[in-house]
């Protein structure tokens, strides 16, 4: 194809189309952030969180104070859980992490701990436990391969209770959704 030299007008026209598209996408990104960050105040069982709007509220069981999962038609729905676990007075966060590891190892398929360390979250000391497991959907009609799920627990000692904030997300979505989870984590009050 033979290309003629571009006139200044042609060049400006090209740039202006690019700019208008970029502006539209920037506004679109802002809209995305706005929708994804919509939250409502959830208060129960001694905790309060800014829960993601539009997620499925799951019936809590046992020591769970909050359990919510993103609606997902394709694969594993990103999940946030907050638990209030009664503990002995001398229990340490590291000890709770060991108990959780044992518990998850028994319940979850192919559970592996990836990392554990003490961290500072929002001026509070927490114990961070990162792990991976394979989703085991009990629904036999679920016609897709099991998903590899990455998870992290943040364990806080609060008197005679351990508050455990959990994040589970499918392998490919874990890093992408991490910022949103951090905002949720910062909203947890107990």
């Amino acid at each position: 194809m033979k290309n003629n030299n571009l006139s200044l007008g042609d060049r400006f026209a090209e740039i202006s189309v690019f700019i208008i598209t970029a502006i539209a996408l920037l506004i679109g990104w802002n809209l995305k952030s706005n929708v994804e960050n919509r939250a409502y105040l959830f208060e129960a069982n001694g905790i309060s969180v800014q829960a993601p709007d539009g997620w499925r509220q799951i019936q809590t069981s046992g020591d769970e104070a909050f359990h919510s999962a993103e609606l997902s038609s394709d694969g594993f729905g990103t999940t946030y859980i907050v638990r209030n676990i009664p503990i002995p007075a001398d229990a340490s966060a590291g000890g709770i992490a060991s108990l959780l590891t044992l518990e998850r190892g028994q319940k979850m398929t192919a559970f592996r701990v990836l990392d554990q360390r003490e961290v500072n979250v929002n001026d509070k000391i927490a114990y961070e436990l990162s792990y991976v497991f394979v989703e085991s959907n009990p629904d036999l009609t679920h016609a897709s391969a099991p998903k590899v799920v990455y998870g992290v627990d943040y364990i806080y000692i609060n008197g005679n209770q351990a508050v455990v904030v959990t994040y589970w997300a499918e392998e490919g979505k874990y890093e992408i959704d991490l910022d949103r989870f951090h905002r949720f984590l910062q909203s947890v009050k107990f």
């Binding site: 194809m1 033979k2 290309n3 003629n4 571009l6 006139s7 200044l8 007008g9 042609d10 400006f12 026209a13 090209e14 202006s16 189309v17 690019f18 700019i19 208008i20 598209t21 539209a24 996408l25 506004i27 679109g28 990104w29 809209l31 995305k32 929708v35 994804e36 919509r38 709007d53 539009g54 993103e70 992408i176």
Partner: protein
């Protein structure tokens, strides 16, 4: 702004372009009806890879129909077939390499755009509409636009339609593959809707491109064209969502995809009518001068 080597617009010289567009709309409706009737009557038991391949073949049909009619009728001043086919392929490549990753993986629109009706409309225009229409514009503007073969205003519509059909073909193929095949009846309706819609919005971009090349248009001309196409794109998808959903029952929302095809055919015919009128008006104004 003045431009060099301008030539006159001559819509009459490309009368078959409008015929091709009309035949595309008509053929797609007939083809959809035939496949739907066959699927309904014969109920073919396709499974696995055969079902996927059947879907992929269906996805290619709209582009094939248009390209075939274009090939047969473009005799008066033939547009290089390799250029038209090349733009079609470029539309496919841009959709697969840029459009889909940007919309699905970076913006992840399916996760948030259905939060409420206004968000669906805005995301459809700002993210999906602008991305898709810019890429169709880019497929023409950064390839054949500056060549000597782009020598009539209607060439903009021809090449942009080829890019739009390329984009639609990839979207349809991705839909088939990601679902492991489609029900032939419902699938063929969806493919016809996507092809008609993308060809129509690309036609708008093409009209603005044609005028931009052969008239002294202001700097806002081309952004206006892409914006109109993007707004129509987003509004159409929003409206289709409203129209095809006929109710909610115990198994979920019930839909009537035929209403989507009626809407797409209506939009395509109206768009074509407006473009014919605009081109004739432009030619008349030029003739008076």
């Amino acid at each position: 702004m003045p431009k060099s080597s301008k030539k006159s617009t001559a819509p009459q010289g490309r009368a078959h372009v409008w015929r091709d567009e009309f035949i595309l709309i008509l053929s797609l409706i007939v083809f959809t009806g035939v496949i739907y009737a066959l699927s309904d009557t014969l109920s073919p038991m396709l499974q696995g890879p055969v079902l996927v391949w059947a879907g992929v073949l269906l996805a290619l049909v709209p582009a094939f129909i248009w390209l075939a009619f274009f090939y047969m009728q473009d005799r008066a001043e033939p547009e290089p077939k390799s250029y038209v086919f090349g733009i079609f392929i470029l539309g496919c490549l841009l959709a697969a390499a840029v459009g889909t990753p940007l919309i699905d993986s970076i913006f992840r629109v399916s996760k948030w755009m259905y939060a409420d009706s206004i968000t669906t409309l805005l995301a459809g225009i700002l993210v999906i509409g602008f991305t898709q229409e810019y890429l169709k514009y880019a497929a023409v503007r950064f390839s054949v636009y500056h060549s000597d073969e782009f020598n009539e205003a209607t060439d903009g519509i021809v090449y942009a339609t080829a890019a739009g059909l390329g984009y639609a073909t990839v979207l349809n193929m991705q839909f088939v593959i990601s679902n492991g095949g489609v029900d032939l009846g419902a699938g063929v309706i969806r493919m016809a809707v996507v092809a008609l819609a993308h060809a129509s919005f690309a036609g708008i971009v093409g009209y603005f491109l044609g005028r931009a090349k052969f008239e002294s248009e202001p700097i806002w001309w081309m952004p206006l064209g892409v914006t109109i196409a993007a707004v129509m794109n987003g509004t159409f998808n929003w409206l289709r969502g409203q129209v095809v959903q006929t109710g909610v029952n115990l198994t979920g929302a019930s839909t009537n995809p035929w209403l989507g095809l009626v809407l797409a055919a209506f939009v395509a015919l109206i768009t074509m009518g407006v473009l014919v009128w605009l081109m004739r008006r432009d030619a008349g104004v030029k003739h008076e001068k």
